[in-house]
């Protein structure tokens, strides 16, 4: 029944996720537990070679100070003490500077950059015109006969981010659905409403400088979705998003 008119128009939408790049900060219970585990491990352990060497050298130093030995004990031996080694390593660590966990984009709240909120999932939101309204939505495109819904979603991604985007789509099945009826003015017998099927994908290339973004776009986390999406749409989208 290819020519039979469909009462519901089909759309394929893509929820493109940028996975977190750094670990999330620990909760208080997790930190306490971590400290306890380290303490127990220390208590149950034996001395290592380095620690035994350190203890022996401390003994020697103490004995030398107490009994005022001459340096005939150790003729010509330039001894590197374990303590010196430890100091050297400490210095080296302090010289190294790691990249900051909270980036500039975070501080200035630039929501269009991919470098913000490195510890949580970011998803792409695009401003699209539906009917006569400009809405913030997950990028969607109408389904055309002859293609699967997954390829519709891929086409949606390509229209907004260009051809050379590298994303891993998680399977052939849709993750969620948003169904809405058109307002009474437009509704006809053969055109009741629309069904939007959501697909999930993980972004794999980390730089999107080559992507040509034509419309307004945003990269937002799950808790920021509420600022942009409508209530019903948000409810359906939240069901398939893991924090």
């Amino acid at each position: 029944t290819a020519t039979a008119p469909r009462p519901w128009r089909l759309f394929g939408a893509m929820c493109l996720l940028r996975l977190p790049r750094i670990t999330q900060p620990l909760e208080k219970e997790e930190e306490d537990m971590m400290a306890l585990m380290e303490q127990i491990e220390l208590e149950k352990s034996h001395y290592s070679d380095h620690e035994i060497r350190k203890l022996e050298e401390e003994e020697q130093l103490r004995r030398r100070k107490e009994s005022m030995y001459d340096d005939d004990e150790a003729p010509g031996k330039t001894v590197i003490m374990a303590q010196d080694l430890e100091d050297k390593w400490e210095q080296k660590l302090l010289q190294f500077e790691a990249a900051p966990r909270i980036t500039d984009a975070d501080k200035n709240n630039i929501r269009t950059s991919l470098d913000r909120r490195l510890d949580s999932n970011l998803m792409l939101l695009v401003k699209q015109k539906i009917g006569n309204q400009e809405l913030w939505l997950l990028p969607q495109v109408e389904w055309q006969p002859g293609e699967t819904l997954r390829s519709t979603a891929e086409r949606a991604m390509a229209t907004f981010l260009g051809d050379r985007i590298q994303a891993k789509i998680l399977g052939n099945a849709p993750y969620g659905i948003y169904k809405y009826k058109f307002p009474r003015a437009i509704r006809t017998e053969g055109n009741v409403g629309a069904k939007v099927f959501f697909f999930k994908a993980f972004l794999q290339s980390s730089d999107l400088s080559q992507a040509e973004l034509k419309e307004d776009y945003l990269w937002v986390t799950k808790d920021e979705l509420g600022d942009y999406l409508k209530a019903e749409y948000l409810k359906k989208v939240n069901r398939f998003l893991l924090d």
Partner: protein, 200 residues
């Protein structure tokens, strides 16, 4: 057989001598006779090589069978266990000077630890329940979407049900504590792997 040949040779030699031929070399009937007088001494014994062949073949076959039996026995025996090196403490760490000397734990400290463990238990239980609830809602949303799709069109539904071959094996580098530093030059060095490899 041999006596007949000897007698014919003897007759030949007598005949030739009596015919007064100018041969003074003592005539030997056949090259196997070392002297005229010794007739039966050094005739070749040809029966022995035949026996050697049979016995050799039999012996070789018997040897091969024995070897095969030994190999089968070795194969049937249970394979030797590979020792897990992590579970065997090397002897040099069992000396008494290695034991750490720490003050014994106070009563408050043990109490604190027990209470912390209980809090941790509760925390982890809540975390686990939340995770399971999230997964449950994920599955429900997907089921609803597939149901709607089926109502819409059967062929699209079948295409959605199909297994995605390119999805697994899925690999991803896990999150680190800090993001990668652009332009960082790691120190040079070579890592030599000295793990012992056992074969069964």
């Amino acid at each position: 057989m041999s006596s007949k040949s000897v007698s014919s040779h003897a007759l030949c030699s007598v005949f030739l001598l009596s015919s007064w031929l100018p041969q003074t070399v003592p005539f030997r009937g056949s090259h196997w006779q070392t002297s005229v007088l010794a007739f039966r001494a050094s005739l070749p014994v040809r029966a022995q090589p035949k026996k050697k062949k049979k016995v050799d073949v039999k012996r070789e076959q018997a040897q091969k069978d024995r070897m095969k039996k030994k190999i089968k026995k070795l194969e049937k025996a249970a394979p030797e266990m590979i020792p897990i090196e992590d579970f065997i403490t090397p002897l040099k760490y069992s000396g008494s000077n290695r034991v750490r000397s720490l003050a014994p734990l106070s009563f408050e400290e043990t109490e604190r630890r027990v209470l912390l463990l209980k809090k941790w238990c509760l925390f982890k239980q809540k975390q686990d329940k939340a995770e399971k609830k999230a997964i449950q809602s994920l599955v429900e949303a997907q089921q609803e979407a597939l149901k709607e799709l089926r109502l819409e069109s059967e062929e699209l539904y079948q295409a959605a049900i199909r297994r995605d071959e390119g999805l697994f094996p899925f690999e991803r580098d896990g999150p680190n504590y800090t993001p990668p530093l652009p332009g960082y030059d790691p120190p040079e060095g070579k890592c030599v792997d000295i793990t012992k490899v056992y074969t069964q």
